[in-house]
Point group: C2
Chain length 379, copies 2
């Protein structure tokens, strides 16, 4: 057996999810509860009737690759050759790390709190990695200076995620510019930024978030239709980057998966035919977020600003400042609400709890009330 | 960049395919030209309308896993926990190598001629590997003794493919039993067999081929709906093995891809609801094979026995005994027929040419006639 697998810790999220009982309120779930538009599926089924279901090229259908490139419109990376169509953004992250990093030499710097698949993928591939934490005392505010200070002589890639899971923070253009300037000022081989933008369409400010891909040419951007269009089960994502890196990523993709599902790609081409549909669910989330904030304020909960995605980090009372797992267990055991301990997103998440607020309205309101009850009862 | 990618040669198949002109006869294609049954797609689209499209569990829907296990019915490996649903059989091969092999210690032995993704996957993962060739003089007859003789002290896995691409040979039960007996007689840690059975349903003998999975408990079996059901673009396959290895493979699968497309899995569950549909295309191929053999005999072509899959290895005239690429180039250039040089399947394929006979009937007949013409003209 491959010993690299022994070093990969089982998922805390999965362990606590497994303890959920029927009737429990689920604020742990990381996927939309909205139903997707079925029309692209009707169109894709009609397509199969006409064309069968052959493979596409390894990197994906050329039309879809061009659609994705045009949608992101990064300078100098706006052509089909800049896109590899992947099995969700998860495979895009894997391909970027596998293709662009030399495990014998390079180090990866991961911005946390974060989805722990980033360090686990590094562990799987034997890639040296370090974490750099945003400041919990500052509500996990995205901070380029912290990232730049943490760079080491062997750092060849920074992994960041904006809008962020679990913090709900969005990297503002000013901080992304500061990051790009800082990287540009470094001598030697440029440091890449792998930017996970799977929540790209779910923002609550006036302006759509800017991507580091637009500001730093050595960026690799991962995206998907999973969250924007409630299509997690479509497993359709993409990696965008310079043509040389995309060609290398496609070589890996070809050997590991051949290509993404042709059916999923036809569905995606239908969606991209009207890119506005990628933003169709945003008003729903904006409304839900406003309700959530109302209930949290009403109950006096302390939480990090919710700027994007569908998560919220709630600060735990002192009793659980070093035991978010204990808080989540108490919440589940005594109040029948499932939430995710902050420690599941790295050490900097300790003392916090992540709420996913995709749940149905009444469940969400009741869940917040029960969390407030738990916190009141805590010494 | 990852230097492992530099060591992976570009595909010869891809290079020659890229030279095909409109109007050329294509006997190079590795996928069915039949149309798939569209009814499972209608059913799956109705399912999406009702359920949306959430993720399945990482290893796949429990019902589908149980269906696949029951279909293969290997002793002691017949439960859902013995199956990981994958992105086609390609990912199943990757997962088996990645999870079951320790790159620092283990060696893999690959039976050729074969699909060169096997050694390329080993190169990608830094796994030591050697090839063991079946005898071209014996029509590439599957030969357990050759494999057993080639085992080394560090060999921990044998990769074989039956029915075979490119040879069309099927490992008979007697040779598989000889292989299993030979492996059982070896002291020390058992050697696994990774068996690629993606052409399982396409056989032309009386009896369905026996799987090594039924004879050797340390087998890992890769399969898919790609070839049997003309669903290459569905990207739906599976890996079957002992529960511990499948759990390790699922850990890799989760990090690399999360899960297979839920839509593809619903289509697959529809197909497995009546497993006879997996064999529905066999009569078509049997008829096509009979025609092909008639035409080849008529033209006096020398070829390896076609026992399964939809390929045929044709022996080249002396002039090209060491230059199958030259023969394929001459065939394409002067006779406008695309076929695959045997060297694309390992050194033992040199001096042969692989025909894929999924082409339309008239194209296939004309293609054979032109190959005979090329051979006649050769000195």
């Amino acid at each position: 057996m491959n010993p690299a697998l022994d070093g990969i810790a089982p998922s805390i999220i999965r362990a606590i999810n497994a303890r959920k009982r029927p009737g429990d309120i689920d604020l742990g779930l990381g996927e939309p509860t909205l139903r997707p538009d079925p029309r692209p599926f009707d169109a894709a089924t009609a397509w199969v009737r006409e064309h069968g279901l052959p493979y596409t090229a390894n990197a994906g259908d050329a039309k879809l690759r061009a659609q994705v490139a045009a949608y992101h419109a990064f300078p100098d990376r706006g052509a089909a050759e800049n896109v590899c169509v992947t099995i969700g953004s998860e495979e895009a992250l894997y391909l970027a790390l596998k293709a662009a990093i030399d495990p014998a030499r390079d180090e990866v710097l991961i911005v946390e709190p974060c989805y722990l698949a980033y360090p686990k993928l590094c562990a799987l591939e034997g890639i040296r990695h370090r974490m750099v934490a945003m400041d919990p005392a500052d509500g996990f505010r995205p901070d380029a200076a912290r990232v730049l200070e943490a760079l080491g002589p062997d750092t060849r890639m920074i992994v960041l995620n904006s809008p962020n899971n679990p913090t709900g923070r969005v990297w503002p253009e000013s901080e992304l510019r500061a990051l790009a300037y800082g990287l540009a000022a470094r001598p030697g081989e440029p440091v890449r930024v792998l930017s996970d933008e799977v929540y790209r369409e779910l923002y609550f400010g006036e302006q759509a978030p800017v991507s580091i891909g637009a500001l730093w040419p050595h960026s690799l951007v991962a995206g998907s239709l999973s969250k924007s269009n409630a299509l997690t089960g479509l497993r359709l994502g993409w990696l965008i980057g310079d043509a040389k890196t995309i060609a290398a990523a496609t070589k890996v993709h070809q050997l590991v998966n051949t290509a993404a599902s042709t059916f999923s790609q036809v569905v995606a081409m239908e969606v991209f035919a009207d890119p506005a549909t990628l933003a169709a669910h945003r008003p729903h989330y904006a409304q839900r977020r406003a309700m959530l904030e109302g209930w949290m304020r009403e109950h006096g909960l302390d939480y990090a600003p919710i700027e994007g995605a569908f998560y919220c980090m709630v600060r735990l009372p002192e009793r659980w400042a070093a035991d978010s797992l204990g808080a989540a267990e108490a919440l589940l055991e005594h109040h029948r609400v499932l939430a995710t301990p902050g420690i599941a997103f790295g050490q900097s998440g300790e003392g916090w709890m992540r709420l996913s607020w995709v749940a149905e309205e009444n469940a969400l309101r009741e869940g917040i009330a029960r969390i407030a009850e738990l916190f009141r009862d805590a010494p």
